[in-house]
C-alpha cells in the first residue's frame, strides 16, 4: 500500500510528465493539495517508489546553479500507475453509497 506522501508524489508525476524532479513535484503538491513537504521528504518518498519499481529515473548533466551537481529526474512507470489505480479503486469501493451520509453533510 502507498502512504499519503507516495500517493501525492505519484499523482504529481502524472501531472508533470517528463521533466519532473523533486522541486516541481513539491510545488505541485503544495499548490493543489495545500500540503507542504520538505524537499527531503519528497526525496524519501521518491527513493521508496524507485525501490518498488513504480518510478524510473535519469540524471541530467551537472549544472552550475546546482553547485555542479546533476539533476535527478523521475518518470512514473506503468506499475506505478497501476498501483495508483488499485488505490483509487479500493477507495472508491469504500466511498460507495456514502455520498449522502448525514455525517458528511456540511453545516
Amino acid at each position: 500500500m502507498l502512504n499519503d506522501t507516495e500517493r501525492l508524489v505519484l499523482l504529481a508525476l502524472l501531472r508533470l510528465g517528463e521533466d519532473a524532479y523533486a522541486m516541481p513535484i513539491r510545488e505541485e503538491i503544495e499548490n493543489r493539495s495545500g500540503r507542504s513537504l520538505s524537499v527531503t521528504a519528497v526525496y524519501a518518498a521518491l527513493e521508496r517508489l524507485e525501490r518498488h519499481g513504480y518510478v524510473e529515473t535519469w540524471l541530467s548533466d551537472p549544472r552550475a546553479e546546482r553547485g555542479g551537481r546533476a539533476r535527478k529526474h523521475y518518470r512514473i512507470r506503468p506499475s506505478g500507475a497501476e498501483a495508483l489505480r488499485r488505490e483509487r479503486d479500493a477507495e472508491d469501493r469504500m466511498w460507495e453509497g456514502l455520498e449522502t451520509h448525514p455525517a458528511l453533510k456540511g453545516p
Binding site: 521528504a41 525501490r51 552550475a64 546546482r66 539533476r71
Partner: protein, 905 residues
C-alpha cells in the same frame, strides 16, 4: 566540475547550513537534495534578494532534519506519528519485562547507579547551596563585609571600630547604607519569670536596611524611640517563649535586668549574623565615647548600584586617611603605628570562608565513585550485550532497521538509568535533609541546604550522561556486530569480540585505579587525624566540665558585688563532691570566644604589651591575646606552670596585680632569661604588672594552628574595675567523676546564688576539642567512605569480569584439563589475568593519586601528599583485596570437568 560546490567567487547558499545538511543527509539523496536547494536558492536570490533566499534556505534545512534522520535510522519510511510513538513505548514496556526477568543484573546495575548518582547529587547540593546559591537577601551581590588590616600592629585582620564606622558613614559615597554589630550572651526574662540565656546581636538600626529585610511583625528598630534600646525577637524565640502571640510587640521585657521594648519579630528564615542568634538589640553607642581603635564590631554595607568592591575599597582608603583628630585616640602617632588598611569583601565570600577546598575535594571524591559505578554498569552491560546479540540478529533478520535496533537497546538503557537516577536522587534528597538538620559538623549556610531546582537539573544531566553513555555505548556495539554471524554458530559465536574484551579489561583497570586514588587520599587524611590527635594542645581535655554565664550589669555595678559573686560561685563549685579544681576565664580555648568580661580595662581581647627595658622593635606584633583568669584556672585546665607559680586568691587584690605569660611570649620578650619577676604593662599611662609565672603554650585555635602568644591577666583585679558590663564568663571544672554527672548540681549552685543567671554552653572539654576538628573529621570520613565504596565496587567489577572470563573459557579450560593441566595450573591462569589487571590499575592509580593528592595539601598535617609509605601500603592493600576477589572465580575454574565443558553446547 566537482559536486562539492560552485567555484570560488560565485555566490552560494549559506555554507554552514550546507555543511550541516551534508552531515545528516544519507548518501543516496545527499547530492540531489543539496543540488535542488542550491538551484532554488539561486532562483530566489535573483528574484527576491540574498536575505530572502538565505532565510528560505535555513527553513528548508530545518525541515529536512527529521526526514533525513528518519531515512538514516528509521528505515526509509517516515512513520506515522502514532506508530512511532507506540514503537518506543512498546519497546520500553518490553524492556521492563526483560529487566524483570534478570533480577540480579537489574538490581546490581540500578543500585550501583543509584549509589554513584545519589552521592554525587548530595554533594552537589552541598557545594551549590554553600558556595553558589546567593545569600537570602535582596540584591545580595551588593552586600559586603568591612574589616581592616593593621600591619603596624602585626595584625592581618581586625574588624571595625565604632569610630571608623561613624567616620565612614558620614562621608562615604560608595555605600547605600552601613551597619555594625557585635554578639553577646544575655539573660532574657520570660513572661513567666523564668530566665533564659540567649544569644544576642547588638546592632545599629541600619542593619535591617543594609540587608533589605523587614520584621514579620512590628515596626523594627526606631532611631527616634524614647532613648531606651529596643529589641527584636527571632521567629523561633517568639514561638518558643511567647507562643507566637503577635501582641507581644510593644510590650516590655527584661534583658540582663534592664527594661527593653519588643519592637518586632523577625521572619522565620532570618538568621543574621548566624543561626543561634535569637535577639537583636539596638546598639545605641554613645557618640562621645567613640574610638578609632576599638575593633570590637563586625561591619557590613550595601554598595550603591554600579559601585564595585574595588571602588568601595578605594573610597574607604581615601576616608581612612582623614580620620585623624576626629576621636581622642585618632592621634597621628597611633594612626601611623596602626597603618590601617580597609578590607572590603563580598559578604558571600565571607560567609563561605575557607570551606571551598573541602567541598570541592568531597565533590571530586564522589565524582570518582560515580565514574567507578558507571564503569561497573558498563561492564555489566557489555556482558549482557553479548548474550543479547542473538536477539539483535533475529530482529535484524526480520527487517529491523538500525533505528529499530537502537530503540530496542535504548529502551533498556533508558529504563535502567531512570531507575538508578530516581532512586539516587531520592536518596540524595533524604540524606541532605537529615544532614541539614543533624549535621555533626559546623558548615556555613547549613540551614539553607536543600536539593533544589539546580541539584535536580544536575541529577537529570548526570543520569542522562551516566546512563546513556555507559549503558548505551556498550550495547550499541551490538549494532556493529555482523548480524548474520549472530545467528550462525549458535552458542559458539557468543563470545566477546577481542575489541569488547579489551574494553572490559580497560574498564576494570580504570575502576581499580580510581579506587586506589581515593584510598590513598583518605589514608593521608587518616594519618593527619592521628597526628593531630597526638599533638599536645597545652591543656588536659579529659574529665573537664565547662559552662558559661552572662553576668548582667544590674546588681553587679560594684567590684564587691561582681567579684563577690564570682568568688562565691568558685568556692561553691570547688566544694562540690567530685570537683578537684575550678577556675574561670574570659574565653575557653578552641571555642573561638574572644570576649572577656568587659568590666575591667585590662580584659580587652587584644592589647599591647610592653616589657620594661625592652622597647618594641619594628615589625614585631604590638598586641597579644589577653585572657582574664581567676586563680584555679591553670590547675583546672591542666596547663603546666613552667616557671614561677600560678595565681592564688591573695594575688587578686595585690597592687599591680601580677600576670602570667605563655612560654612563647616570654621567650620573645625576655630571650635567654627568666621572665619571672620582670615587669610588663599594657599602655604608657598604666602601671607595671609583675610577671608571676610562665605557663605552657595553649593551642587556642586548634592543634593544626600555632599556639598564640597570651598574657593572662587577673579577672578580679580591683584596681582596674570599671563597672561596665555585661560580662561573659566561662568556668572550667576538673572532675574526678564523669563530668556530665555534675551538671544538675552546677545549675543548682548558680541559680541559688542568682536566680536570674542561667548557665549555658554546658559541655565537656572533650566535646569542644572534637567540635573544633569536626569539619576535618567529617571530610576525612566522607572521603574514606568514598574510598571504601570505590574499592567495594571495583572488587565487584574485578570479580565479575573474571567470573565472566571463566564462563567464556570453560571449553578452553576443559581442554587444558583433559590434556593434563592440574587444578593449580588453572587457578594460576585465572589469577594471572586478575593480577595483571590489578597491577595495571594500581600503576594508573598511583600516577593519578600523585597528581591529585596535592589538592589535599592544605588539609594535611605533617604528612607529605606523596608520602611513599602511604602509597605503598595502600597499593599492597588493594592487591590483597583483588587477590581475594580473584580466588572464587579461580576455584570455580579449577572445578571445571573436561567432559561437561566440551558437552555444553
Amino acid at each position: 566540475m566537482s559536486a562539492s560546490g560552485p567555484p570560488h567567487g560565485i555566490d552560494r547558499p549559506p555554507r554552514l547550513l550546507e555543511w550541516a545538511l551534508r552531515l545528516i543527509l544519507p548518501e543516496p539523496v545527499r547530492d540531489h537534495v543539496l543540488g535542488d536547494l542550491a538551484e532554488e536558492w539561486a532562483r530566489r536570490k535573483a528574484t527576491r534578494g540574498v536575505a530572502a533566499a538565505g532565510a528560505w534556505y535555513g527553513i528548508e534545512a530545518l525541515r529536512s532534519v527529521v526526514p533525513a534522520l528518519g531515512m538514516r535510522y528509521g528505515g526509509h519510511a517516515p512513520r506515522m506519528r502514532s506508530h512511532r510513538g507506540a514503537g518506543l513505548m512498546g519497546e520500553v514496556r518490553y524492556a521492563a519485562r526483560r529487566l524483570a526477568r534478570s533480577p540480579a543484573f537489574t538490581t546490581t546495575a540500578s543500585l550501583t547507579l543509584a549509589v554513584g548518582i545519589g552521592a554525587t547529587v548530595a554533594i552537589f547540593a552541598l557545594v551549590d547551596g554553600v558556595l553558589y546559591r546567593p545569600l537570602p537577601y535582596p540584591d545580595s551581590e551588593r552586600l559586603v563585609v568591612l574589616r581592616h588590616a593593621a600591619p603596624g600592629l602585626g595584625l592581618g585582620d581586625v574588624e571595625l571600630s565604632d569610630g571608623l564606622y561613624e567616620h565612614y558613614r558620614a562621608s562615604n559615597d560608595v555605600f547605600e547604607e552601613m551597619a555594625i554589630w557585635q554578639e553577646a550572651f544575655v539573660n532574657l526574662d520570660g513572661p513567666d519569670g523564668e530566665a533564659l540565656r540567649v544569644e544576642l546581636a547588638l546592632a545599629t538600626p541600619s542593619l535591617l536596611p543594609v540587608l533589605g529585610v523587614r520584621p514579620l511583625h512590628g515596626p523594627g528598630f526606631d532611631a527616634n524611640d524614647d532613648g531606651g534600646r529596643s529589641v527584636l525577637l527571632s521567629y523561633g524565640l517568639w514561638q518558643r517563649r511567647y507562643g507566637g502571640d503577635p501582641s507581644v510587640v510593644g510590650r516590655m521585657t527584661l534583658v540582663n535586668g534592664a527594661a527593653r521594648r519588643i519592637a518586632g519579630v523577625m521572619p522565620r528564615d532570618f538568621r543574621f549574623p548566624r543561626p543561634g542568634i535569637d535577639l537583636w538589640m539596638d546598639l545605641g553607642f554613645d557618640r562621645d565615647d567613640l574610638r578609632v581603635g576599638s575593633f570590637y564590631y563586625r561591619g557590613a554595607a550595601r554598595l550603591r548600584p554600579g559601585v564595585t568592591v574595588q571602588q568601595a575599597r578605594e573610597g574607604l582608603d581615601r576616608l581612612v586617611r582623614t580620620v585623624e583628630g576626629e576621636f581622642p585616640d585618632a592621634t597621628p602617632q597611633r594612626l601611623s603605628e596602626m597603618r590601617l588598611t580597609p578590607l572590603v569583601t563580598p559578604m558571600k565570600d565571607d560567609v563561605v570562608g575557607d570551606v571551598r577546598t573541602t567541598l570541592w575535594l568531597l565533590f571530586g571524591a564522589v565524582g570518582f565513585v560515580l565514574l567507578i559505578a558507571c564503569a561497573n554498569v558498563a561492564n555489566l552491560n557489555l556482558v549482557r550485550a553479548v548474550a543479547r546479540e542473538r536477539e539483535v540478529a533475529v530482529r535484524a533478520a526480520l527487517g529491523a532497521g538500525r533505528g529499530d535496533l537502537l530503540r530496542y537497546l535504548l529502551a533498556e538503557s533508558t529504563l535502567l538509568a531512570a531507575v538508578g537516577g530516581v532512586a539516587g536522587t531520592l536518596a540524595a534528597w533524604a540524606s541532605v535533609r537529615v544532614f541539614a538538620t543533624r549535621a555533626p559538623v559546623d558548615l556555613p549556610r547549613l540551614d539553607e541546604l536543600a536539593v533544589g531546582g539546580r541539584a535536580l537539573a544536575f541529577a537529570a544531566v548526570i543520569t542522562a550522561v551516566a546512563g546513556m553513555v555507559f549503558c548505551l555505548l556498550p550495547a550499541a556495539g551490538a549494532l556493529r556486530a555482523d548480524r548474520g554471524g549472530g545467528l550462525n554458530g549458535a552458542g559458539r559465536a557468543l563470545t566477546a569480540s577481542p575489541r569488547r574484551q579489551r574494553t572490559q579489561r580497560a574498564l576494570v583497570a580504570a575502576q581499580v585505579a580510581l579506587a586506589l586514588a581515593l584510598l590513598v587520599g583518605s589514608s593521608l587524611m587518616v594519618q593527619t587525624s592521628l597526628r593531630l590527635a597526638r599533638v599536645d594542645p597545652g591543656f588536659d581535655h579529659r574529665d573537664l566540665l565547662t559552662f558559661e554565664i552572662a553576668q548582667p550589669l544590674r546588681g553587679y555595678e560594684t567590684y564587691e558585688r561582681s567579684a563577690g559573686f564570682q568568688l562565691a560561685l568558685l568556692d561553691s563549685l570547688r566544694a562540690l563532691p567530685g570537683v578537684l579544681s575550678a577556675g574561670a576565664v574570659g574565653g575557653l580555648p578552641m571555642t573561638g570566644t574572644e570576649g572577656g568580661s568587659s568590666w575591667t580595662a585590662t580584659s580587652r581581647f587584644l592589647q599591647p604589651l610592653e616589657a620594661e627595658g625592652r622597647p618594641a622593635t619594628d615589625g614585631e606584633p604590638r598586641e597579644v591575646r589577653a585572657r582574664a583568669v581567676t586563680h584555679g584556672y591553670f590547675e583546672a585546665m591542666g596547663i603546666s606552670v613552667l616557671e614561677g607559680r600560678a595565681p592564688r586568691p591573695a594575688d587578686q587584690a595585690a597592687d599591680g596585680a601580677p600576670v602570667l605569660l605563655s612560654a612563647n611570649l616570654a621567650a620573645r620578650l625576655f630571650p635567654g632569661a627568666s621572665a619571672v619577676g620582670k615587669l610588663v604593662r599594657h599602655s604608657d599611662d598604666a602601671g607595671w604588672n609583675t610577671v608571676l609565672g610562665v605557663v605552657a603554650d595553649v593551642s587556642e585555635d586548634g592543634n593544626d594552628e600555632p599556639a598564640p602568644e597570651i598574657v593572662y591577666v587577673p579577672l578580679l583585679d580591683a584596681s582596674t574595675f570599671t563597672g561596665v558590663g555585661p560580662g561573659y564568663l566561662a568556668f572550667a571544672l576538673r572532675t574526678g567523676v564523669p563530668p556530665t554527672s555534675l551538671v544538675p548540681a552546677v545549675r543548682w549552685i548558680v541559680t541559688t546564688l542568682d536566680a536570674r543567671m542561667p548557665i549555658g554552653s554546658v559541655r565537656t572539654m572533650e566535646e569542644i576539642v572534637a567540635a573544633k576538628s569536626a569539619r576535618f573529621t567529617f571530610t576525612m570520613v566522607l572521603i574514606l567512605g568514598a574510598g571504601i565504596a570505590a574499592t567495594f565496587l571495583g572488587t565487584i567489577g574485578l570479580y565479575g569480569i573474571l567470573s565472566y572470563m571463566v564462563g567464556q573459557r570453560r571449553r578452553e579450560i576443559g581442554v587444558r584439563v583433559a590434556l593434563g593441566a592440574e587444578p593449580g595450573d588453572v587457578v594460576r591462569l585465572v589469577l594471572r589475568e586478575g593480577v595483571a589487571l590489578t597491577v595495571i590499575g594500581i600503576g594508573a592509580g598511583m600516577a593519578t593519586a600523585a597528581l591529585l593528592t596535592r589538592f589535599l595539601e592544605a588539609l594535611l598535617y605533617e604528612v607529605s601528599p606523596t608520602d611513599p609509605a602511604t602509597f605503598a601500603l595502600t597499593a599492597a592493600a588493594v592487591l590483597v583485596v583483588a587477590l581475594i576477589a580473584c580466588t572464587v572465580p579461580a576455584r570455580r575454574a579449577a572445578r571445571v570437568q573436561p567432559v561437561e565443558a566440551v558437552a555444553a553446547d
